[in-house]
């Protein structure tokens, strides 16, 4: 009888996360609330170590646990981005945690558990691992959203996210059961063998499964929760929500579409195209009226998910490479933007409206410069990183013959540029408001790195393009 245990190297990052989550719970339970900062530091170390372990894995594809777990270049690429996002959002929460009444050591533990779910989700090779990873991630996120339990908005955000998330899980599970019923297997590779021509039941299953996945990436028409949850949850939590879980959901979206359903591309291509157009258009128009910067970034992330899905709609290797690059650049830009939101504090209180940024160029020139660059990049203005991200997905769409999609995407990105540029205009041309409190060192570091990456990425883009290309090749 062959051993059921896979080669240890393949599962080492996940094992590390699992063991460290349990150890951190124990330390927290023994030491009490005063250990919150220590546990936060250890959690960051665990996430970084897991990321390094992922990088050290060899470049081959390893199938573990009877096909339930796939460790291929695609999974490794997405895991590194997701773990980077998770670790950075924990770094960004150091200052928030040290404020008295919010010191809760469970926060970092739940982020590590969510990251474990994220890694399982990215590596999922069948529908059961997909569902379990998704639930592990989502359950942790529901709790983290409501972690500031004395705030009405935070609890509302958590409850709203939980109820809608449970509904979407139900839809996803229903779709998965139909897919299983009509193909006779839960394994993606087996499903791909059977699903060679679209049948009614198969399409039903795909629709429900994709509906559940669209909820997780917050694509229109399943985006309703995003602005409310982003606004209500504590800001470091929002930064986490906007990065790692999005990467995981997008990864599994791509994997299901490309790996399980490669022979029925036309059945899901229309769905992805529609969702992509709707997200891009809504993300551009709905953000115009927003005055709260967290809601603005929520609509911006809806729009960005639409742009990333353009690459998936193409359904080609270039398209998948575009999605991967888009997600990597999106995570870096989003982290930078959220450090600025976290730094928006006056007299120890957080302020959240766009108008509070007025005249930032005169009170804090460097922060204004970097935030301005991030906003230009989010809008997709060359030669910043955001432009290159959009360029690759649109080129893939055009190569796949989806001209209408590409044209609508470009138009939407021009409309979206309005509200990003408005932020820049308020920072540089409005009368200065009162200056913000000093920015903690760790926020400065994250903002600096993210800003530098965004501005100077075009100088040497080759490594990311190559890594994304290798990752995309693994799926085809």
């Amino acid at each position: 009888m062959p051993s059921v245990l896979p080669p240890l190297g393949a599962v080492l990052p996940e094992l590390l996360l699992a063991v460290s989550a349990i150890l951190l719970v124990l330390i927290g339970a023994i030491q009490g609330e005063k250990s919150a900062n220590l546990i936060n530091g250890l959690a960051i170390a665990a996430l970084v170590a897991a990321g390094v372990l992922v990088l050290l894995q060899p470049g081959t594809t390893v199938v573990a646990f009877h096909g339930s777990m796939l460790v291929d270049p695609f999974a490794r690429f997405m895991k590194v981005i997701a773990l980077l996002g998770a670790a950075a959002s924990l770094v960004m929460s150091v200052d928030w945690l040290s404020r008295a009444q919010q010191a809760r050591f469970e926060y970092a533990v739940l982020v590590v558990l969510a990251s474990l779910g994220i890694c399982i989700l990215i590596s999922a090779g069948d529908l059961i691992a997909l569902y379990l990873g998704l639930e592990l991630m989502s359950l942790s996120l529901y709790v983290v959203a409501a972690i500031n339990r004395d705030s009405v908005r935070s609890t509302e955000a958590g409850l709203k996210y939980f109820v809608l998330g449970a509904l979407s899980s139900g839809m996803l599970l229903y779709g998965a059961s139909l897919l299983y019923g009509f193909t006779g297997s839960v394994n993606f590779a087996e499903i791909a063998k059977v699903a060679t021509q679209p049948s009614l039941g198969l399409i039903f299953g795909i629709v429900f499964l994709f509906a559940g996945l669209c909820f997780k990436v917050s694509a229109v028409p399943f985006h309703m929760w995003t602005p409310d949850v982003y606004e209500g949850a504590p800001t470091p939590v929002t930064a986490f929500f906007a990065t790692a879980p999005k990467v995981a959901a997008m990864a599994v979206f791509v994997r299901v579409a490309i790996e399980a359903l490669p022979n029925v591309t036309h059945s899901w291509q229309q769905i992805v195209t529609f969702v992509s157009i709707a997200s891009m258009v809504l993300g551009s128009f709905a953000a115009i009226g927003q005055r709260n910067i967290k809601r603005l970034l929520a609509y911006s992330s809806i729009g960005h998910m639409g742009f990333a899905l353009v690459g998936l709609a193409a359904g080609t290797q270039e398209g998948v490479r575009g999605v991967l690059m888009y997600m990597a650049i999106y995570v870096v830009m989003t982290l930078g933007s959220f450090t600025c939101v976290l730094a928006m504090r006056r007299d120890g209180r957080a302020v959240e409206t766009v108008d509070d940024l007025a005249g930032l160029s005169r009170t804090r020139p460097l922060m204004a410069l970097l935030l301005g660059a991030l906003m230009f990049s989010l809008a997709g203005i060359p030669p910043l990183a955001g432009f290159l991200a959009k360029y690759y997905v649109f080129v893939a769409a055009i190569q796949a013959g989806l001209y209408a999609l590409a044209v609508i995407g470009v138009v939407a990105s021009v409309i979206g540029a309005y509200y990003y540029l408005r932020v820049v205009k308020i920072m540089y041309f409005d009368e200065p408001a009162e200056a913000f409190d000093g920015m903690p060192g760790e926020l400065k570091a994250v903002l600096g790195l993210s800003g530098l990456f965004t501005i100077f990425y075009f100088v040497y883009p080759a490594p990311l393009i190559e890594a994304a290309g290798a990752a995309a090749r693994a799926l085809f």
Partner: protein, 202 residues
Amino acid sequence: MSFAAAFFYLFAAVLVGSAFMVISSRNPVYSVLFLILAFVNAAGLFILLGVEFLALILVVVYVGAVAVLFLFVVMMLDVDFVELRQGFLQYLPVGAIVGLIFLAELVLVVGTWISGPGVTVTKTAVMTYPKGNTHAIGQVLYTDYIYFFQIAGFVLLVAMIGAIVLTLRHKANVKRQNISAQVNRMPEDAIKVVKVRPGQGI
């Protein structure tokens, strides 16, 4: 009609009837009791199918733990279920329409199941384990499916941490048992011997 078929209709009829009573009975305690009846009948159906492990798990876990917990909650919380159910009849027509649409969709989907193409490729033989399906599940649960089993364990861990994070509050004014103080208490600390003269009081 065979013996098994007779039992099938018996269990199925009681199951549907008690499920209906769960939502229609006025007293919430009766609802939970009907829920237990529904679970037990579902377990009977499982036994007819030959999956005795699931049947017993259903009884042990759902009847033994979950339903009893429901009963505790219903009895301990003073929820006015009559008030909660006031809009029930009002929403019934819309609910019925939605239910019918779902039913129609289900029939449509299940109707095509027979003609699902290519299913035979992945169709696996029914597992035949001479020692019964409990043995069969035991053989694969901790070996082939160890990965899922462990993830499920982590999901439960998150649920536990989450419940504690969101609800546990350390209140300042709660009197707690201080065992060392109790043990170290001497008779002199607590008892005062007073000589009381008859007829005078203290």
